[in-house]
Each structure stands twice: as C-alpha cells, then as structure tokens.
C-alpha cells in the first residue's frame, strides 16, 4: 500500500494572493464599466428615436450629480482598462518583425496607448466643435 497522499491546496481567495492577480481582477472588473457605458449610450439612442421630449429628458437626467459622478468614475475605469489592455497586448499577438528585428513589447504597448490618446483627443475635438 502506497503511503502517498498528495495534498491539494484550496483556491479560495486566489485573486488576493498576488498583486498581479489583483490587478488582473481590477482590469476585468473595469470591463463592467465599458459595458455599463455602452448601455447608457444605447438608452440615449432609444430616447432619441422616441422624439425630442424624450431626448431632452435623457440629457437632463445626465446632468444629475450622481450621473456626473458615475461618468467621472467610468472615465477613470476605462482609462485603467485601456492602459492594462495595451500592457498585455504584446503578449497576445504574433511577433511583429521590422527590418529583421522583433518589435519590442514597449513599442507595441506605447503605440497602442498613443493611438488611444490620439483617438480620444480627436473625439473630444469633434464633440467640442459640435457643442460650440
């Protein structure tokens, strides 16, 4: 009779065991804000289709301090999500070879982040232009 008795450790609370896992969970958690914000925009679209009064009511509701607070929080969450998303990006794609040299990870991450910032600024400019 073998005296082996391998001990299996519990996975309970695994995500608290390592800062890397905590960051991963926050990253995954912030995805909820991406979804929530998509929901808000969709609601706006529905209200727009319902007519001017409905649209204006929706706009007015957005000025509620709770909504403003939510937007600020969502902005922070989305920024964090984008940042960690681009950070992991080099690990998820095939190697990019430029002139026989493999593109280093920081270039891919940096490029992605730069693209995100530029896209956001353009969007901001467009909205700014429309508002004025």
């Amino acid at each position: 009779m073998s005296k082996r008795r391998p001990y299996v450790r519990s996975m309970d609370g695994w995500w608290r065991r390592n800062p890397y896992f905590v960051e991963y969970m926050i990253h995954e958690g912030t995805a909820l804000f991406v979804a929530a914000y998509a929901g808000i925009l969709l609601a706006g679209l529905v209200r727009l289709a319902e007519g001017e009064a409905a649209w204006n009511a929706w706009l007015a509701a957005l000025k509620n301090p709770w909504y403003v607070g939510f937007h600020l929080f969502a902005l922070a969450a989305l920024a964090y999500h984008s940042f960690t998303w681009f950070k992991i990006m080099p690990r998820t794609m095939p190697p990019v070879i430029v002139e026989g040299q493999r593109l280093p990870a920081w270039v891919i991450t940096g490029g992605g982040l730069a693209a995100a910032v530029v896209a956001s600024l353009i969007l901001l400019g467009v909205v700014w232009g429309m508002v004025r």
Binding site: S2, K3, R4, R5
Partner: protein
C-alpha cells in the same frame, strides 16, 4: 515486491540513455524497454552542456583531422579503432538530431553552423546558441515520447543490478514517490547514468552527477577504467563552480591574469594574436589551460577573490550584440549570479572539476565484460577520450554510443531467454532488506559531513597537479570515510520522498567511485593529459604507462589496480604540442610520413 518484465532495461534518462532507448525501439518495436531515471529525463545533467557537439561538417575538414585532434588531445591513451568509428558517425547522428527537431544555430543560407572549440583544428562544433545540451536533451526526450515501446520509470532510483546465471537480468529500483522497491527484469541492461564530478568540492556538475551506474557495475566485478583522469574545466565560476562554456573562447574570448596579460602564451600555446587561431592560446585543450592557471597562481599572477584565486575571462571586445546572440546563457549567468555585465566587465573564473574521462570498461560496441551489461556516455569508458577529453566530443559521444549500446543491447536481448523470475525476485528481496536497512542507521555520522570531507580530500589529493603523499592521504581518508559511513544516522525513516535516504545511497556510490579514482591516480607514476604529477613523474612514460588503468572492486578494502593495453592503429604516440610548437610538430610528422 512489485515486478515488471522488460526486454531491455536502460538506467539513466540523459542524452545517452534516451538515445539508447530510441535505438532499441527502432531496432525492434516488439522489445519492451524500461527507461529508469532517478529524475525526470529533462532534468538529467546533459541539460547543462553549453558549447556544442563535434562532427565534421566543412569541406576543409576531414575525419582524419577529427581523429588526430581526439587522439592527440587524449595524449594517445585512446582506443584508436573506437575513435575511428566515433568520428565517422558524429555528423550522421547530429543530422539525425536535426531531423528530430534540434534547433541548431544556422548560417544565413539555412545550413547548420559550426564554431571553433579547444584543441580542434577546424571548426566542427555544432551548437544551439550556448544551450546545446539543453536542446539536445529536450529534443531526445520529446522524440522518445513518439515510441510506445519505451516505458519510462521516471523518478525511480536504481539501487542494484540483478545478476543470475552469469549475466545481467534486471535491476532493482526505488520508486521515489512512494519509497517502495520495484524489480525490473530485463534480458539486457544499459547503464547511462553520467559522470561522478560531485565527488569533488568545486565542480560544474548538477547534484545528480554521483556516479551511481559506475558504482553499480563496479560492485558486480566490472572494472572502472582510467578513473584517474578527471577533467578540470578552466573557466568556471568561483565558489559555485558553475560553467562558463569553452564557446566563450571559441567565439573569441581572452584569458588574462591580474596584469591583463594573456598568460597562455607563456605555456607553449602562443603566439598571442588578436583573433585566436584554432589550437592556439585560448583554443588549446582544457588540461593545458587548467595547468597554466595553476602555474600562474604559483607565480602570484592571479587575482585574489573571495573564493580563491581567479583569472579573467574577457569577452568585452566581442560586444553586447554578439554575446546576446551566441552566448545568451553565459550573459545571464554573469548578470544574475555575479552581478556583472560581461560586455563591460571581465568575468572572474577558475578551474573546476567538469568531467570524468574514465568509467565502466566497455568495448567499442559498448559491451562490458559482464554479459548483458552495456554502458554509454560519461559513465562508460569506451575509449575515445584517453587522458583528456576535447570539448564538444562528449555530446557527440552520447549520441553515437548511446545508439550503439541500444542496438547491441537489443541484439543481445533477442539472443537470450528470459530469466528465472523466482530467483530474480529472491535476489531483489535481499537487495530491499539491505537498502531499507540503511534508513535505520542509528550512529552519529551525518551524510553532509562525510560528503564534504570526501569532496575536500578529493580536491586535495586529485587536483590539477598531484603528489604521491597527498594522494596516499586521500586514499586513506576515503577508507576512513567508508568505515564511518557504517555509522551513519538518518533524520528520516519515512517512505514518501525520503531524499535523505537517497543521498545516503548516493554517498555510498560516490565513496566507491572516489576510491577508484584516487587509487588509480596513485598508481600511475607518470604525467599524461589530465593526470599531472610533481613528484618525479613529470614526464609521460610510454614504456610503462601507455596502458589503461583498471580498478577492480574489492569488498571491504581499496580496489585492486591492473592495466589493459591501448589499441593503437595508425597514430604512434608523439609530442603533444599546441600553438606554434604544435604546428611545427605537425609539419614534422607530415614530412616523416613522406
């Protein structure tokens, strides 16, 4: 006791053992193969080989050159017919490994690239960056998975051979995970357990390199041949002994003393040139380079470090890009273990024990004098290394002779009937009682203390230069340690993963092997290759000692040493010279042969 019936049992899952297993499987898929290894195969010490594996590749090279380099490098203590077979089969085996997926470094046109190595006239060392052994081992291990007839017994520690009816018929092994013993029957057994460098203090070897298979064969009456020849590798990390591959010099690295002077030019290896020429300076053979270090130390021209004297391995002029490409592991070793950047700072190095040239006596077909028992790789003495092995010949050896041992073992297994299981089982039970008894030791000696004293006395007596008096002290000390071993005390009497028990068994193996080394060394009253004396025997003595030493096990005492002849076919012993002197000697040899 559980028992398993195989046809061929292979002990050792490193390069030679895996190559042997594949050879058996290819020779006859009907044969059941048991591959017994005390670690998972990819942990075996083949993994740590760095520089490369020799095989004639370039049009400017020839088998004759490889033969001459090997025989001269071995100070003519080689079996020349075996060397002939070896050099003729290296490239074929290396190509086979390429077909199996080994990621050899390539030239821009896609062919396998070769690099320069010590003592080799032409570049012929195939390499996979500086992780050649790692890639060869993993390629062999992963390829072995393809063959259903290979049944692996991973983490099974072989404790004895079963000999019945005048031939080997199996092994007894401990399943490490449970601590239970297992009888593995087989009509032929191949030992491929590697070297024994851990009997020395400062060495490049992994913890597993404890000479197990050598001791197993030795205790069953098979002589250990040429055990006095132990290779010191000249460029190792002070303290830990970790290896900085010879490829560092193959790629153009320099060895300098405390004045920044390339001191090898003072020891018959010069002249010093910017780019090291093959067989000159840093590309001389390992025994000569380690010996030169010793002299520099005597002259006070080495650098004093925390772990003894060092010289500098200077790679700075090669530049970071080339170092990262060709020597990435060396780069990381220097950074992580020494905290230095080799592209900016020279690496402190000193010689450490690296390789056992001698081993289990086998003929050119890997057969030992005990019928049914074969051996291949570092544990064996097939006769190609003589008194000093050339770097990159050992990886090729384990392929070429791993295969031979497998083919021959398969042939032998088919030629004999299966053994008498009842008789083998009785024997195995006796082995079990003995081995289990070791656990119960209630004396007052600790394993680590005995091991440390053994390693120290081996370094003292069997170092780069040797004296009769200190060698005698080492022999006496080893005898004392064997006595004290009987008085061992273990902290651990349990079964599951009892590694202290395994360490005790390994120590007993090591003491036997160490004794064979020291006693063979004492008896060799000449200087040849890696065996150098300072007590009136400074010269090579072909009249009395162009012979292989053979250590025979004697229960309860030191081994009996006798001698066997050396097979010389066409290369008569001559002056072994390198550098400019070597070039001149070669021209003279050519002239005299017309």
């Amino acid at each position: 006791m559980e028992s398993y019936r195989a046809d061929v049992v292979i002990v050792g899952g490193g390069g030679a053992g895996l190559r042997a297993a594949i050879a058996v499987a290819e020779a006859d898929p009907e044969l059941r193969i048991a591959l017994v290894s005390k670690v998972y195969p990819m942990r075996s010490h083949t993994v740590a080989a760095e520089g490369g594996s020799a095989g004639v590749k370039q049009a400017s090279d020839s088998l004759e050159y490889h033969f001459n380099d090997t025989v001269h490098g071995g100070d003519w203590l080689c079996e020349q017919d075996v060397v002939d077979y070896f050099v003729a089969h290296c490239s074929e085996e290396l190509t086979q490994l390429e077909h199996w997926g080994c990621p050899w470094s390539r030239t821009p046109d896609g062919r396998v690239n070769v690099r320069a190595f010590g003592g080799m006239k032409i570049e012929r060392t195939w390499f996979a960056a500086d992780k050649t052994g790692f890639h060869m081992l993993h390629t062999l291990f992963q390829t072995s998975i393809k063959y259903p007839s290979i049944k692996r017994f991973d983490e099974h520690f072989c404790v004895d051979l079963l000999v019945d009816d005048g031939r080997v018929q199996g092994v007894v092994a401990i399943e490490i995970a449970s601590g239970e013993l297992l009888c593995i029957e087989g009509r032929a057994v191949v030992i491929a357990t590697g070297g024994a460098g851990r009997v020395f203090r400062e060495n490049t070897n992994g913890g597993v390199v404890t000479g197990d298979g050598m001791a197993l064969a030795y205790r069953h009456g098979v002589p250990l041949r040429d055990m006095e020849f132990v290779q010191y590798h000249p460029t190792c990390m002070p303290g830990t002994g970790l290896l900085f591959t010879e490829a560092c010099r193959g790629e153009g690295g320099f060895l300098v003393n405390k004045d920044g002077y390339r001191y090898l030019q003072d020891y018959g290896l010069g002249p010093a040139e910017e780019k090291p020429r093959n067989k000159f300076m840093e590309l001389g053979p390992r025994d000569r380079l380690s010996q030169a270090f010793w002299y520099e130390q005597q002259k006070g021209r080495t650098i004093e470090g925390q772990y003894g004297s060092v010289v500098h391995l200077d790679l700075r002029h090669l530049g970071e890009a080339k170092l990262r490409e060709r020597l990435p592991q060396i780069y990381e070793l220097a950074e992580q273990f020494l905290g230095i950047d080799p592209a900016r700072t020279p690496i402190p190095v000193r010689p450490a024990v690296h390789y056992t040239m001698g081993g289990i006596l086998v003929d050119g077909r890997c057969a030992s004098p005990l019928p049914g028992l074969y051996a291949a790789g570092e544990c064996s003495s097939v006769g190609i290394h003589g008194a000093n092995r050339l770097g990159s010949n050992s990886l090729s050896e384990l392929l070429v002779f791993g295969k031979v041992s497998g083919v021959e073992a398969a042939r032998f297994a088919r030629s004999v009937a299966a053994g008498n299981s009842a008789s083998l089982n009785r024997q195995a039970q006796a082995v079990e009682r003995r081995v289990q008894g070791l656990k119960l030791g209630r004396g007052n000696e600790r394993i680590a203390v005995l091991r440390k004293e053994m390693a120290q006395t081996m370094e003292d007596g069997c170092g780069i230069y040797r004296l009769a008096a200190t060698m005698q002290q080492t022999c006496d000390k080893l005898e004392e340690l064997k006595q004290r071993f009987r008085n061992l005390r273990l902290d651990d009497q349990s079964s599951v993963w009892n590694t202290e028990w395994l360490l005790a068994i390994e120590l007993e193996y090591q003491l036997d092997v160490a004794q064979a080394m020291a006693c063979s060394a004492l008896e060799r009253r000449e200087s040849r290759g890696a065996h150098q004396r300072l007590d009136g025997f400074e010269q090579r003595d072909d009249v009395n000692f162009l012979k292989h030493s053979q250590a025979h096990y004697v229960a309860g005492g030191p081994p009996r040493i006798d001698y066997g002849s050396v097979r010389i076919t066409r290369s008569q012993p001559g002056t072994r010279a390198y550098g400019a002197a070597g070039e001149q000697a070669e021209q003279e040899r050519k002239a005299s042969h017309g």
